[in-house]
């Protein structure tokens, strides 16, 4: 029987090392307490009904010792755990973008070239993959045990996360957050391929319309271009080169234009007003599907080719909680 799942991502080795360290600590202290309890219980067992205990004086020193030692050990765990966490939450800049839509009870995964997959995702080995995820209904969670990777997909926001596969193979994709009746059927497979196989896979089949061009169509359909155009004196700010750039707001704050910002500016346009523009944009809350929002985001990202490729990093910290980003 196996005790560890496959190690198929750059996280897996780090997480498992941490796991083994915690197992060692757990085993040591469980055995220590277990052995002491058993030894004391046998050695000091009551031999006659009226036997009394021996006097043991309390020891302040002993109390300090067994407070400080656990403290030191848990601090080691904390810093080690935090360093692994930072690795998992900071996507590198050269990642392939995958757009994920979760809904009861399926995963829809889209490549930037327009290729769509259902409950399956093909990725190359040795290349970071950046996921921009949205949910159409309840909270889901994208979980690949072999990657030691999990991220909740919360409706009403984009969840951005990443992984890099290291070993070709076929691995479970699970929904880890309970999402209703067929929760345990919301599963799929991640196919990790060698670069050559991946190229072959990409070449086969018709990719369809790219996400960015689908987004461009929606941009016109929703009449976004009437204000966010390139003409002089446009009523809204230009979106060229926006993604990954710092934006100055009317209240004097500065935010980096990441996926979360773009999404919020579409559905709740008054939340963060750009300096120098009047608050005239209507809200699109409920008017554009999650998929549409992903397409629009992909389109707006494509207007900043340099940023989308290289400056993705600052935008890559996990989408901050909406509560905490409000002024």
């Amino acid at each position: 029987m196996h005790f560890l799942p496959d190690q198929a991502s750059t996280f897996a080795g780090h997480v498992d090392a941490l796991y083994l360290f915690l197992i060692a600590v757990t085993a040591f202290f469980s055995l220590l307490i277990g052995v002491l309890v058993v030894v004391f219980a046998i050695k000091y067992r009551r031999r006659s009904a009226d036997e009394v205990a021996l006097e043991v004086h309390e020891s302040g020193l002993l109390e300090i010792v067994w407070t400080v030692i656990p403290f030191v050990i848990v601090m080691v765990m904390f810093f080690w755990g935090a360093s692994v966490f930072f690795r998992i939450t900071r996507p590198p800049s050269n990642a392939i973008d995958i757009y994920v839509t979760a809904k009861q009870w399926m995963w829809k995964l889209q490549h930037t070239d327009g290729r769509r997959e259902m409950n399956e995702l093909h990725v190359p080995v040795g290349q970071p993959v950046r996921l921009t995820m949205a949910s159409e209904d309840v909270i889901h969670s994208f979980y690949v045990p072999a990657f030691r990777f999990k991220r909740d997909v919360v409706p009403g926001r984009f969840s951005v996360a990443w992984f890099e596969a290291t070993k070709p193979g076929k691995y479970h994709l699970f929904c880890a957050e309970y999402c209703g009746t067929r929760h345990s059927n919301m599963i799929g497979w991640i196919y990790v391929m060698t670069p050559a196989d991946y190229e072959a896979w990409l070449a086969g089949g018709t990719p369809g319309e790219t996400l960015a061009s689908a987004g461009a169509k929606r941009f016109v359909e929703n009449a976004c271009n009437t204000c966010h155009g390139e003409q002089k004196g446009a009523r809204g700010p230009s979106l060229n080169g926006l993604f990954g750039r710092a934006v100055r707001l009317q209240n004097g704050q500065t935010v980096v234009a990441d996926e979360a910002y773009i999404r919020e500016s579409i559905v709740n346009s008054q939340a963060k007003l750009v300096e120098g523009y009047p608050p005239i944009m209507p809200t699109f809350q409920g008017l554009i599907s999650e998929e549409g929002l992903l397409q629009l985001t992909a389109y707006i990202k494509s207007l900043s080719p340099a940023a989308a490729a290289s400056a993705a990093a600052p935008a890559a910290t996990p989408a901050p909680e909406r509560m905490s980003t409000k002024p």
């Binding site: 196996h2 005790f3 799942p5 997480v15 941490l18 796991y19 915690l22 202290f29 469980s30 307490i33 277990g34 002491l36 309890v37 004391f40 219980a41 000091y44 067992r45 009551r46 036997e51 009394v52 205990a53 006097e55 309390e58 002993l62 109390e63 067994w66 407070t67 656990p70 403290f71 848990v74 080690w80 755990g81 935090a82 692994v84 966490f85 930072f86 939450t89 209904d137 309840v138 909270i139 979980y143 045990p145 072999a146 990777f149 999990k150 909740d152 409706p155 009403g156 926001r157 957050e177 309970y178 209703g180 929760h183 059927n185 910290t317 996990p318 901050p320 909680e321 909406r322 509560m323």
Partner: protein, 546 residues
């Protein structure tokens, strides 16, 4: 100890006690005697435990095979929801405080009753009404949200009886608040002369700490659950992202109570263990002040760790760091307790009677359960094990291996006082062993299957997880039998058991100064306390009555 207090001493004639003081259903349903109310709670929590346990048995039955072949998916989801709601809200939270705490707090501090006897009875009614309301929902089709009610599933998508169940939990919450209030006021104002804070039994310290959480935390979950109901009925849009609400806000509010609630379950259990370890070692507890202080430290820190339930929810990295470090810190007072219990056995006069067997089982299982909690406080590791069977195993080690072992240990220890009868020692030792073995076989494999990646709340699962699930189901069968044995002999003992001596264990503590079972007024005259708690060595009584 005098001869009169020797174990199993026969008693002449039946003295007036709280059980025979009056007869008839009315005399129970309208009682304000904390001891009778405790017995009524005992019946209540046993019924809800049985329902929750039956649901657990059905869960394990379904998980025997990988395919979802015993129940429909929706039925399975309703079953695990029923299991969680019954066990958490109607067994674990009231369990030790409302049964043992109700019976013992006044006895231990030398009081005639709790500060507000009629409010105590009201608490019981609220508990029963809340429980029956939730049960009504279960019987009429149930609900499938899980006991955690995560939004927007619970507010928009679920078809179950969410609002009815929420009302049931809301009502029962007031029972918990009022019990906590009653204990706090009683401990502050009704201690017998000479019962200084530092002479108070550690059981009362644990109840005190748990009561603080009950009073401060429960209103938050009451409001939260009310918001869920209101959002479902009136579409307020607080948690619904389609209306600009925030589903993660619900998680913050819910865990702000529900993580401290874990300590409402475990602090009283620790309090029981402190009593058992010292009584069966015949030795003062090692580190009294550290154990008492650690209870308060746990109660305070418990309110600052809720965010560790949300490491993968998109909470900010910095919030994650803060919640991680605080979660690690809350482990330290627990470790202090374990070390002090172990040190109490050292050079003791250790007698392996049933309550001690349960207590030693508790120490082992709680230690292991507590250490595996560190895995979940650890940011990088929690990302993998969050929402898998690893966490299911962890919290069952704390709640079942910890709280239920302590509850049963306490019940065996104080049963002679509660019922005036002895249970069969042989069978009670058997039950302690069967439960310990069955428990480990049930839940240890779940750590492994969890790390291998099996998510919780899965109706069907991939075949490679089957071996470990079969082990778990086998263990659950043994565990189930282990729980039935005490149920049988406790009931048996009420009719056929030997009469219990006033102090069958030769223990200190004011509760053992009273007859078994105690008279309605507990103490004919207010006792005066002249020494420390657990004064086994000087040979004199801790307190002189009169």
């Amino acid at each position: 100890m005098t001869n009169e207090n020797a174990p199993h001493a026969p008693r002449v004639g039946a003295r007036a006690n709280y059980l025979n003081a009056s007869y008839g259903v009315r005399s129970w349903l309208l009682t304000s005697d904390h001891k009778r109310i405790a017995v009524m709670y005992l019946i209540g929590v046993t019924v809800f435990f049985a329902i929750g346990g039956l649901a657990a048995a059905l869960i394990r039955l379904e998980l025997l095979t990988p395919a979802g072949d015993v129940f429909q998916a929706e039925t399975y989801n309703k079953i695990f929801t029923t299991h969680g709601i019954m066990m958490v809200f109607f067994f674990m939270i009231p369990g030790i405080p409302a049964v043992l705490g109700n019976f013992l707090v006044p006895l231990m501090i030398g009081a005639k009753d709790l500060a507000f006897p009629r409010i105590n009875l009201l608490s019981w009614y609220l508990y029963i009404i809340g429980g029956l309301t939730a049960l009504w929902a279960v019987v009429h089709g149930g609900l499938d949200t899980g006991w955690t009610f995560y939004t927007p599933y619970s507010t928009v998508y679920s078809n179950g009886w969410v609002v009815v169940t929420a009302v049931g939990i809301f009502i029962a919450g007031f029972s918990s608040i009022l019990t906590g209030l009653n204990f706090l006021v009683t401990i502050h104002t009704m201690r017998a002369p000479g019962m200084h804070w530092t002479r108070m039994p550690l059981f009362c310290w644990g109840m005190y700490a748990a009561s603080i959480i009950q009073i401060l935390g429960t209103p938050v979950v009451a409001i939260t659950i009310l918001l869920v109901g209101a959002e479902r009925l009136f579409h307020l849009g607080i948690f619904d992202p389609a209306q600009g609400g925030d589903p993660v806000l619900f998680q913050h509010l819910f865990w702000f109570y529900s993580h401290p609630a874990v300590y409402i379950m475990i602090l009283p259990a620790m309090a029981v263990i402190s009593e058992l370890v010292t009584a069966f070692s015949r030795k003062p507890i090692f580190g009294y002040k550290f154990i008492a202080g650690s209870s308060i430290a746990i109660a305070v820190l418990s309110f600052l760790v809720w965010g560790h339930h949300m490491f993968v929810s998109g909470q900010s990295v910095y919030a994650g760091l803060v919640f991680s470090v605080l979660s690690f810190l809350v482990a330290i007072p627990s470790a202090i307790k374990v070390f002090n219990w172990t040190a109490t056995l050292y050079k003791g006069s250790v007698s392996y009677q049933t309550p001690l067997l349960y207590a030693l089982g508790f120490i082992g299982l709680f230690t292991f359960g507590g250490l595996t909690g560190l895995f979940l406080a650890c940011l990088g590791l929690d990302i993998h094990v969050h929402d898998t069977y690893f966490i299911v195993a962890h919290f069952h080690y704390i709640m079942v291996g910890g709280t239920i072992m302590a509850y049963l240990g306490g019940l065996h220890y104080w049963w002679p006082k509660i019922s005036g009868k002895m249970y069969p020692e042989y069978w009670s030792r058997v039950s302690a062993w069967v439960i310990f073995i069955g428990f480990n076989l049930t839940f240890f494999p779940q750590f492994i299957v969890g790390y291998l990646g099996m998510p919780r709340r899965y109706h069907a699962y991939p075949e490679e997880f089957q071996v470990l699930n079969v082990m778990s189901t086998a263990g659950a069968s043994i565990l189930g039998i282990g729980y039935l044995i005490p149920l049988v002999y406790f009931i048996w003992s009420m009719r056929y058991g030997q009469d219990a001596a006033d102090n069958p264990w030769g223990a200190t503590g004011l509760e053992w100064e009273t007859p078994s079972p105690p008279p309605t007024e507990n103490f004919p005259e207010t006792p005066v306390v002249t020494g420390i708690a657990y004064d086994y060595l000087t040979g004199k009584e801790e307190a002189a009555v009169g």
